[in-house]
Structure formats: structure tokens, C-alpha cells
Amino acid sequence: MLGKLIKYDFKALNRYLIAIHIMLLITAALGRFLFVERLIKNSGGLSDMGMVIMTLLILLYVILFMTALFGTLLVISIHFYKNLYSDEGYLTHTLPVSRGRLLIAKTVSGSVWMLIDVVLVIMSVLILVLYQPMVREFSAHKDEVLIAMGFPSTVGYGKIISLIIVLFVVSAVANVMMLYVSIAVGQLFSNHRVMGAIAAYFSINTILSVVSGVVGAAYSVSVITNAVDETFMYQLYSKAYIFGIVLELILAVGSYLVTYLLMQKKLNLN
């Protein structure tokens, strides 16, 4: 049953998200081949008309870029809300499956799309701007770049990239859970439940930024004042990373449990 639930959740999300992301990639590719390539080959070689079209295309790309980022959050939230708490919820909640499975299916489908979104957005930037000489320069000096950023030479790119991937996965889940818990909290209001969800979302976000701001600042100060050698930047990175991961994990697990309990105990379809 869980597999079937996930299948239908993906079906609902794919409908919009595939189209948005394909458009993003196509625009990036167009921008690349129509303009960036030409600029690289002969700088200043665009006619006035070309400049106008390029500006429009860049504008379109920026709009799609934002649409992909925020649209993904929005599509995932709307699906969660509609499928569980609007009229559609009358069918979803009378399927012979547990509330826990409904939530797991939504967590899996939402998080996977969140991750795909991040990957495709990064890919679109690379399509647009990455070019050979840049890559060559980078490969030639990649160790120096690392050291300039404050990493000891013993830390390889492999480790950094795998840690970043872990961070992306954890924060994809945490972001999705934060959307879900906000919507579930919004349901506690007897009226204006969508407004309640939005208020809940911004409240959680505010608390989160205050906590991470305060703790982050305290951490940095302690690391910098205690710095004995040149590895202090690296220490700062490591601590910030661990703090970020722990915070996201707490957020994800906490939100999941609260959402589950609210679905289980407080379901109250209008």
C-alpha cells in the first residue's frame, strides 16, 4: 500500500514540477548557446537587438529560477493540503491505510522532489556559465583554492562534496517537514486555516533563524577567540556544519512527530 501511495503522490507532484524544471533547463541551455557562448568567443560582439533579447532571456531565466525554487515548495505544500485537508481528504482519509503511511508517502515524495529541485537548479546554473577555460583553471589550482578557503590540504574534494550531499538530503527532508507541520498546525484553527498555516510557517522560520543566528554567532566568536593556528576557519566550518545538520535533524524529526500526532488526534475535516 505504501508503494501505491507514493506512486499517486508522485503523480500529483510530477504534473507541475516536471514542466517547471524542463523549462528552466531549456532556458538555461538557450541562454548558453545563444549568448554566453558568443560572449565568450568574442566579447562585445552582440548587436543592440541581441543585447535586448539577451536581457529578456536572462530575465526569463531568473523568473524560472525563482519559480523552480519557490514553486517546488508551493506545489508540495498545496498537494499536502489538498490531498489531506480539503475535499480530496474525504477520499484520502477513508482509504484503508494508516495515517502514518499517508505521511511517510508524502514525506518521501516531497523530499525527493525537493532534492531533484536543488540538483536541477544547480545544473541550470552550470549549463549557463560553466566553460572550458574556467574548468581548466580550476583543475590546475584546485588544491590552492581549498587552502584559500581555509581547508587543510588533507581534506579532499571528495569528502567536502559528500558532506554537502548529506546536508542537501537532510535539509530537503527538514524543509518538507516544516511545510507539512505548518499546514497541520494551521488546521487547528477553526477558520482561516490556510492563513494559520502561513503564520505557523513564518513563526517556525523566525524561531529557527533566531536560534541559528544566536548559536552561530556564539560559536564563531568562541572559535575565533580561541584560534591558535591557521586551521580556525576549518574548525568554524566543521562546527557550523555539525550544528546545521543537528538543527535540521531536530527540525525534521520534531516536525514529523507533531504532524503525525495532529493527523492522528486532531483531524477535523471541514
Partner: protein, 233 residues
Amino acid sequence: MKPILECYGLSKTYGNGQWALSNLNLSLERGQIVGLLGPNGSGKTTLIKLINDLLTPTEGSIQIDGNLPGIETKKIVSYLPERTYLTPSWKVRDLIFYFEDFYEDFRRDRAQQMLEALGIGLHARLRTLSKGTREKVQLVMVMSRDASLYILDEPIGGVDPAARDYILNTILTNYNENATILLSTHLISDIENILDRVIFLQNGQIVLNATVDEVRVEQKKSVDMLFREVFRC
């Protein structure tokens, strides 16, 4: 055999100081068509939502075939809500696949037969159908399950009289002898002939629970007349 539905001291308040249901006790035997009747706000939909696990009781409990509302009861209860729960972008056949995927007792051939009789194409997108047609589609899906308890909330409210007849016939021909149908409606005279039993609900309490024959013989009235009398404004 256990009764299909039992409610013990069932109460529900939405936190506004008013009780939508208060201390309701009810036991329904299998194999009958039961009309759940009452004026607006009498608690019909609240009771139905509680049976379907869409609300949690404030006090008391419900058992369906001996189980509290949950996965097991959802397997045997086929529920038609008073609103449309269809995903507008789906085609009729997507809905058939969906029901087939989740309900073991769903009979696809029966659904297709009924849809054909009503002239509804499998490839029609739900968004393009009229409100009445969507209600028909939903009723067809619900009646295409071999459930033990059918709960139909206002099943004939929005459809034309011809389709209403077809739907009532559908209900009669598709339900097996051991199944129970609990249906709520305002249109009493239209369905009076198919009911075995009526339950009158007022202010969250049962004011009458009798067979239609009892009403006719003892009160010498039709259910419709009795309803108008009991609930006179």
C-alpha cells in the same frame, strides 16, 4: 453475527460550547437500508464523519463490525461524502485504477457497466463533467464495492429525477443481503419506498428509531408526513 454498527454514549463538540452529538446510542443490524433523517444541523454529517474516522469523538465510542474506526473498518465501509472529493485533472478511468489499487472489494466490471449505462465515458476528464455527473461518478465508484456498510451522505441531492431513479435502482440492485446501507437525505418522499428503517436525529440525539412498517402501521403515516410533524418549525 455482531451488529454492523454500534455507537456507545457517542458525543462530539467542536469546542464552541454546543454539542453536535450528545450521548448517542445506536445499534444497526445487517441487511437493511436505513434512512438517517433530520433537519440541517441535527448531527447527521457529524455522525457519518465519526463513523468514517474523519473526526474523533469527544466522548463515547463507535464499533464497526466489532472494530474501532481504522484500517480494518475502512476496508468494509464504502462512503459517499456530501461533497465531491474527485481530483479534477483525473480521467474517469484514473479513478477506477485508484479504487482498484486501494480497495480489494472494488468490482471494476460493475463500475464500467454502470458508467456505460449513465453515458459517462472512461476517458472523460472529471473537470469537464457537470456537477451532477461528477456526483454520479462518485456514487458509481462507491456502489461498485462489495462493502458491508455503505454510508451515503445526501446521495441524490444534486442529480436530476431520472438519474435519481437510476441511482436508487442501482443501490437496490447492487447491494447484497448482508450489507447495510445508511443514507442521509432531506428528500424523504423520494426514497421512502426503499427504506427498511428510519432514524430521526434532532439536536444530536435520536428521537425515533423504528422500521418503516412500524411508522406506517402504528402512526398510520408516511415517513415524510411524520418527519414534517416531528420537525415542524
